[in-house]
Amino acid sequence: MRFGIVRFPGSNCDADCHRAVEEGLGEDAFYLWHRDRDLGGADAILLPGGFAYGDYLRAGAIARFSPIMKAVESFARAGGPVLGICNGFQILCEAGLLPGALARNAALRFLSHDVHLSVERTDTAFTGAYRRGQVLRMPLSHGEGRFVADATTLDRLEEEGRVVFRYVDAEGNATPEANPNGSLRAIAGVCNEARNVVGLMPHPDRAYAAILGSNDGLGVFRSALAATAAAAS
């Protein structure tokens, strides 16, 4: 399987995604440039973390207009698996491929530490390899990661089972202390209606090997492998 990793000039987790796929999963990864107009035959697309175009305006606000994003949008609308991590999630929200937005952390500071997430749904392109309710540990690192949306949208996301990850404590409880950035309803990740586009703020790409402190994130990439194989058969 081939994962295409979209590089914007200010992407800085592109290499992390590459290593997670090649070293962690043992599949192929290759880079796509933000000016490219096609996806080079990728089976799945990863939008990595970073500061795509510097993000001095608003995270992801400019990246959505890049040439590659047109190709990513068509790929997503055709059912192709697309994962946005951190800045990648922000870009997917700005591009309208995912609902909601990511606002500044409630504490108004950049935050970088490990968090626990519960897997709320296993019926997406990137969570099939997990158990429902499974608690994952992985790093988070962002200044603008507070998931926000209006109450109607939030209710709809809950009803449609589109909240994919939630911030919880080590035992799986969604306590206020476990929510690092003030995300509404402790939402850490969501998916689109068709469940092939997923975005999350924490970094599965930095949790693919025990030596990094956790390999809980590897399941995200493994899930895509299974989903693609299933779609092909």
């Binding site: 000039p9 800085n12 290593r19």
Partner: protein, 758 residues
């Protein structure tokens, strides 16, 4: 100062030179070199290149005494960064740099641009930066000014590294009123380079083409190098125009473009336009190659019209680099730069006449021989004389402070130390830094040394930054040697073999005999310790004139030590791992409370003789720790420093993975007081733990290595009591309570600062 037109300026003479920070002797030397009066632009060039910041004129004669060679050293001092061989074909490029004066004036931008500069020093060598470390000093946190500076500096270091995508994985932060108006912001960068791709900052042969790359040149930071070479006065807030503004996004583009240029073999040499901007990069690159260089300032892309050659030569606008390529290579270079959306311009060429020739629209505005300008700047030696008051501080009787009247006093002292911001958890700081980007971080901040894996090999890289201004203030030579020994100990506690050192010398004005004495003695101490530990100095930075009207800072040499682990899985954590493990203390505790954090925090005293340092003992401890780690005998190892054994053992207990654990220990020391046993800072000691079955072989190894070691107790249960007994007194506290004091010390003092800056 208004530079006037391209060729004319204010009336030339020794007075104008003095306004540029040049002495009468230096003015005469300029006349001698040129055989005429300098032009205004030339005066600016001399002023910048002969500033302390660029020429190291008062420190270089001292720095020359440092050991710089060793088996692992690939590149010593004199380049953008030092490089050591870490195996597997990899070189580790590393260097530390200060940005103290800019941070005192504008903490966010000062710290951010400091990070930017040191990153460029590393990637211009062809090395991909993989980690940042910061060594910070602020005033006491009860001062609003100190809180404002801490908040801004942390945001500045954090935002810059976070945006470029380089993790900040370690550091140290110390608070003392002497730094209130003159904080120290030192940043160390580590980068990895394939040794066959290592690039040096020379111009190569005559005929080569010179380009500026990156941001346009503006009027910001003009004469920043000279600014950094002055004391901070009451009017320094007016110096804000000398502080540059950072753009980490452009930095990221420069980083990627530079590495691509080097990887594709398209450039001869690259140098950051750092202090003294275009002037220093052009002249230093040409001088290293023994060539000459000619540039035309009218061809430099500028931000505003009407900039004079003087301004263009001396601007310190950020995120700019000077790149040299072979003739005909310009198009290929430009293609890479355009991919990364970076501007560039050909501004000149390498010549064979040994001159720095500057034209503006063709007209020559400066022509200076490079050797006397760059290679032979005037050196200065000042009078050195120790301040008598310091001698009296050292001789002070500490008998009263050594009295611990009761167990309650022992407990209160321990809790006071855990709550002291210099000792307490720095989590509040490093949680604002991205510590994991790059997926190399194996041990994050909060341990003795940070560890990165070396991809494609079984190896690991360890590093630590350390300094202790109090010790150096009381005894410069010993204090500086202790900084080296402590850094080596931190690296060895993690299981890594210390390899080499970069240093950042933060001192006051060398024109004061007491300060020059501190500088001279401290450099001697660093040299002695580096020789004894086999860790040569590969470069560094000198920051002088750290003074305000209130007086100089504590002299603060900061040591950045790097080391290597042959097997990264053999790394040793700082904290206890399992209840029931044996606690082993190595080293000898003496009656040494002088200069300790205990004296400062509990008794408000900075006095006494700092602890003695036996360099053979220090080297033996390092060798023992590395061997014990390699043989898998250690569950944990933690350096004993600020706060002594009581703080070290408490940290081991409360930082245990999964939550605080208890510990029961009895400290031994013949005739040593309870206070000195608990809180003294005797050197070359470490607190270890091992599985019960490994106790015998561990003690046997210590004996064979000539290191004093003894079992001192056992790791207790989760949430259990911490009880540290010594000479009839016991410091006892519940682990969760100790953890809460230690964790809350910084956040509770900083909770109202959010949102003050940016």
């Amino acid at each position: 100062m208004s530079p006037g037109t391209a060729t004319a300026g204010p009336a030339m003479g020794p007075e104008l030179a003095a306004d540029h920070g040049l002495s009468r002797d230096e003015w005469n030397r300029i006349l001698e070199i040129l055989g005429r009066e300098p032009t205004f632009a030339e005066l600016g060039v001399f002023s910048a290149m002969w500033s302390e910041h660029c020429s190291y004129k008062s420190s270089k004669p001292l720095l020359r005494t440092l050991p710089t060679e060793g088996e692992a050293v690939v590149q010593g001092p004199g380049e953008n960064a030092g490089v050591v061989d870490v195996g597997g074909g990899w070189g580790l490029a590393f260097k530390i740099e200060s940005h103290n004066h800019p941070s005192a004036v504008e903490p966010y931008q000062g710290a951010a641009t400091g990070s930017g500069g040191i990153l460029r020093d590393v990637f211009t060598m062809g090395a991909r930066p993989v980690a940042l470390f910061d060594s910070l000093r602020f005033g006491a946190l009860d001062s609003p000014r100190s809180r404002y500076l801490l908040d801004g500096v942390v945001r500045g270091v954090g935002d810059y590294g976070n945006c470029v995508g380089i993790p900040t994985v370690g550091g140290e932060t110390v608070f003392d009123p002497v730094y209130e108006r003159n904080p120290l912001v030192n940043v160390m960068c580590l980068g990895l380079v394939r040794l066959d791709r290592l690039t040096r900052a020379g111009t190569g042969a005559p005929g080569n083409v010179v380009l500026t790359v990156g941001s346009r040149t503006g009027r910001d930071g003009i004469h920043g190098a000279a600014f950094a070479s002055e004391e901070l006065g009451e009017e320094t807030a007016d110096s804000r125009p000398q502080v540059q503004v950072g753009d980490p996004f452009t930095e990221k583009l420069l980083l990627e473009a530079t590495l691509e240029l080097i990887e594709r073999d398209l450039v001869v040499g690259v140098q950051d336009m750092g202090a003294a901007g275009l002037t220093s990069s052009a002249t230093e690159m040409a001088e290293r190659a023994g060539a000459g260089i000619e540039i035309d300032t009218a061809r430099v892309p500028v931000r505003e019209t009407g900039m004079t050659p003087y301004e263009i030569l001396l601007s310190e606008s950020q995120e700019r680099m000077l790149v040299v390529t072979e003739p005909g290579g310009e198009d290929a270079v430009r293609e890479v730069l355009e991919k990364w959306e970076l501007g560039s311009a050909v501004i000149g060429k390498v010549t064979d006449d040994g001159l720095f020739r500057v034209r503006h629209d063709g007209e020559v505005v400066a022509e200076i021989p490079l050797t006397p300008l760059v290679g032979e700047p005037p050196m200065v030696t000042y009078e050195a004389r120790e301040d008598e008051a310091v001698g009296r501080l050292r001789g002070r009787d500490l008998t009263d402070a050594a009295e611990l009247g009761s167990d309650q006093e022992a407990r209160d002292a321990l809790l006071a130390l855990l709550d002291a911001p210099s000792v307490a958890s720095k989590r509040w700081i490093w949680e604002q830094y991205d510590t994991t980007v790059g997926t190399n971080t194996v041990v994050r901040p909060g341990s003795d040394a940070a560890i990165l894996r070396l991809a494609g090999t079984p190896r690991g890289i360890a590093a630590s930054v350390d300094g202790n201004g109090r010790y150096v203030h009381l005894s410069p030579r010993r204090g500086a040697a202790i900084a080296v020994a402590e850094a080596a100990r931190n690296v060895a506690c993690s299981g890594a073999r210390p390899l080499a050192v970069t240093n950042c010398l933060n001192f006051g004005s060398p024109r004061k005999p007491a300060v020059y004495h501190q500088l001279r003695e401290a450099v001697a101490g660093i040299g002695e310790a580096c020789r004894a530990l086999g860790t040569p100095v590969t470069g560094g930075n000198v920051s002088l004139y750290n003074e305000t009207p209130a007086g100089p800072i504590h002299p603060t040499p900061v040591i950045g030590m790097v080391g290597v682990l042959d097997d990264v899985t053999a790394r040793v954590p700082s904290a206890f791992q399992a209840p029931g493990d044996e606690v082993v203390l190595v080293g000898t505790s003496r009656e040494e409370l002088g200069g300790s954090e205990y004296l400062r925090t509990v008794h408000g005293l900075v006095a006494g003789e700092p602890p003695a340092l036996d360099l053979e003992e220090a080297a033996a401890l390092v060798a023992f720790l590395v061997e014990a780690a390699g043989r898998g005998l250690l569950r944990s190892a933690h350096d004993v420093s600020d706060g002594g054994l009581a703080v070290a053992l408490t940290e081991c207990a409360i930082l245990a993975e999964g939550g605080p654990v208890g510990v029961e220990t009895e400290l031994a020391g013949d005739g040593v007081s309870a206070a000195a046993l608990l809180f003294g800072e005797s050197q070359s000691r470490a607190a270890l733990s091992c599985a019960p079955g490994d106790l015998e072989p561990l003690l046997e190894l210590a004996g064979r290595r000539g290191v004093a070691a003894a079992r001192a107790g056992r790791v207790g249960p989760r949430g259990g009591p911490i009880r540290i007994a010594a000479a009839g007194r016991t410091a006892a506290v519940d682990a969760p309570e100790a953890a809460s004091v230690y964790d809350r010390a910084l956040p509770r003092r900083m909770e109202h600062e959010a949102g003050l800056t940016t």
